[in-house]
C-alpha cells in the first residue's frame, strides 16, 4: 500500500469540483471552459496512472479537440431562440438517486478487486520482441488487437460521413462551414505561420517514436489536425470542398493500407492481420504513418463540420 500523496488527493478534488461545475454551471460557455480545463487535469491523472499514451491522447483529443468543437458550438448556439425548461424537482431527485446508485455500484466494484489481480502485461511483453516494437501499447493496438484498431478507423470514417450527410442537398460536395478569421496582421495569422512547421515535426516525431515509446498515430494525427485547422481558420489556406478526390483518398489511405497489409498476412504470414516475421516493424510503421495522415484529415474534417456553401469559382 502506497501512501496517498497530497498531490493525488488535490488532483482528484479538483477533477471532481470542476467536473461537477460543468454539469451545474448555468451558462453553457462557462461549462465548456470548465470542461477544457478538466480535460487538461485529466491527462495529468493519466500520467499519475502510469499511462502516458492515454495521457497524450486525452490531452490532444479528449480535452483539446473536443473542447474546440464545443467552444465553436457554444458560439453558434448564441443565436438559438427560447430556452428549454429545466427538469422538474421530482425528476431531478429521481435522476440523482439513479446516478448515485450507478456510481455506488461502480465504487463497490472498484473497492473489491480480486485477491490475485490478473494481468496480461507479462504475456504482452513476452511476445513484443517478435514484432520489433518497444511500446507495449502500440503492440496491443497494432499486433494483438489490430482488428479493433482497424474497425475503429472505419468508425471514424462513418462518423465523418454522418456529419457530411447533414448538409442541405444544394451544398453537397461544397465547403465545410468552418468559421474563418482572416486578418493579415492578427496574432492568429502569426501563430498559424509559426506553429504548423513545429507541429508537423512534432506529429512526425510522435508517429515515429510511437513504435518504441509513448505516442503514435492517434496523438500524431491529432496534432496534424490541430495544425491544419489553425491554418484554415487563419485563412492561410482555403477549406477544401468535400468532393475533392485527394481529400477522400487521404481519409481512407490509412485504413486501406492497414486492411491490405492485414490481407497480405493471410498469404505471407499465418493469418489475417499477422505480419511476416522480420517485417513486422517496418510494416507497422508504414501503417502508422498512413493512419496518422488519415486520422489527421478525418479529425480536422469532423471538427470543420458539414458542407455549408458551394465552391465559388
Amino acid at each position: 500500500m502506497t501512501i496517498l500523496s497530497v498531490f493525488d488527493i488535490g488532483l482528484v478534488v479538483l477533477l471532481l469540483g470542476i467536473g461537477a461545475s460543468t454539469i451545474a454551471a448555468r451558462e453553457a460557455f462557462a461549462a465548456v471552459i470548465g470542461f477544457v480545463v478538466y480535460g487538461l487535469l485529466l491527462s495529468i491523472a493519466w500520467v499519475r496512472l502510469s499511462a502516458v499514451d492515454v495521457a497524450l491522447t486525452e490531452a490532444a483529443i479528449g480535452g483539446g479537440m473536443t473542447g474546440m468543437l464545443m467552444l465553436g458550438a457554444v458560439a453558434r448556439l448564441r443565436v438559438a431562440k427560447g430556452s428549454d425548461t429545466r427538469a422538474s424537482l421530482p425528476a431531478r431527485v429521481a435522476a440523482g438517486v439513479l446516478s448515485a446508485i450507478v456510481a455506488a455500484g461502480l465504487a463497490i466494484a472498484i473497492l473489491s478487486p480480486p485477491e490475485a489481480i490478473p494481468t496480461l502485461a507479462p504475456m504482452v511483453m513476452e511476445n513484443l520482441a517478435q514484432s520489433g516494437l518497444g511500446n507495449p501499447v502500440a503492440g496491443v493496438l497494432f499486433v494483438y488487437r489490430a482488428l479493433d484498431t482497424l474497425l475503429e478507423k472505419v468508425v471514424l470514417i462513418l462518423a465523418l460521413l454522418g456529419v457530411w450527410s447533414l448538409a442541405p442537398d444544394n451544398v453537397w460536395g461544397g465547403i465545410p462551414g468552418l468559421r474563418v478569421y482572416a486578418r493579415p496582421d492578427s496574432t492568429l495569422t502569426f501563430l498559424a505561420q509559426l506553429l504548423p512547421p513545429v507541429g508537423i515535426v512534432v506529429a512526425i516525431y510522435m508517429c515515429w517514436v510511437g513504435a518504441k515509446e509513448p505516442g503514435g498515430a492517434f496523438q500524431g494525427g491529432t496534432v496534424l489536425a490541430a495544425m491544419w485547422l489553425l491554418v484554415m481558420i487563419a485563412g492561410l489556406t482555403s477549406v477544401p470542398s468535400i468532393s475533392q478526390t485527394w481529400l477522400r483518398v487521404l481519409v481512407v489511405v490509412g485504413p486501406v493500407i492497414f486492411l491490405a497489409i492485414g490481407l497480405a498476412g493471410m498469404v505471407l504470414a499465418n493469418a489475417f492481420l499477422a505480419y511476416p516475421s522480420g517485417y513486422a516493424k517496418p510494416l507497422i510503421v508504414a501503417v502508422e504513418v498512413a493512419l496518422t495522415l488519415s486520422i489527421g484529415v478525418a479529425l480536422g474534417l469532423l471538427a470543420a463540420g458539414p458542407p455549408e456553401r458551394v465552391q465559388q469559382q
Binding site: 454539469i23 485529466l42 493519466w46 479528449g62 473536443t66 443565436v79 456510481a103 463540420g305
Partner: protein
C-alpha cells in the same frame, strides 16, 4: 487506499455526475458535455484496472490502456456527430431543443416515406 483506487473512485463519481447531467439537463449541448464527462469517468475505471495489474516492469497493463485510446477516439467521433446534429437543428429551426413540442415542421408531414 492506493492512488489507483482513489482515481477509480473519482471515476465512479464522475460517471454519476455525467449520468445526472445527461438525464436532467434539457439543452442538447449540455447533454453532450455530460456524456463526455461520463465517458472520462468510464475511462478512469480502465485506468485503475490497468494500474493495478502492473507487472513485468510496466507501470500498468497495456491492454486496457490500448482500449481506452480506442474508446477516446470513438467518443470524439460521437461528439462531433452529435454537435453537427445540434447545429443543423439550429439552422433548420432557429432553436436547439429535444423537447417534444414541434421543432418547426408541421405535424402533417410526419411519417414521410
Amino acid at each position: 487506499m492506493t492512488a489507483a483506487t482513489l482515481f477509480g473512485l473519482c471515476g465512479a463519481a464522475l460517471v454519476g455526475f455525467g449520468l445526472y447531467g445527461l438525464v436532467t439537463n434539457p439543452e442538447p449541448l449540455r447533454k453532450i458535455l455530460a456524456f463526455n464527462l461520463l465517458g472520462s469517468g468510464v475511462f478512469l475505471v480502465f485506468g485503475v484496472v490497468s494500474r493495478r495489474a502492473a507487472a513485468s516492469g510496466l507501470g500498468g497493463d497495456p491492454v486496457p490502456q490500448a482500449m481506452v485510446i480506442t474508446a477516446i477516439v470513438v467518443a470524439f467521433a460521437a461528439t462531433a456527430m452529435a454537435i453537427a446534429l445540434v447545429l443543423r437543428l439550429l439552422q433548420e429551426t432557429g432553436r436547439s431543443t429535444l423537447s417534444a413540442d414541434n421543432p418547426g415542421g408541421t405535424d402533417t408531414d410526419r411519417g414521410n416515406s
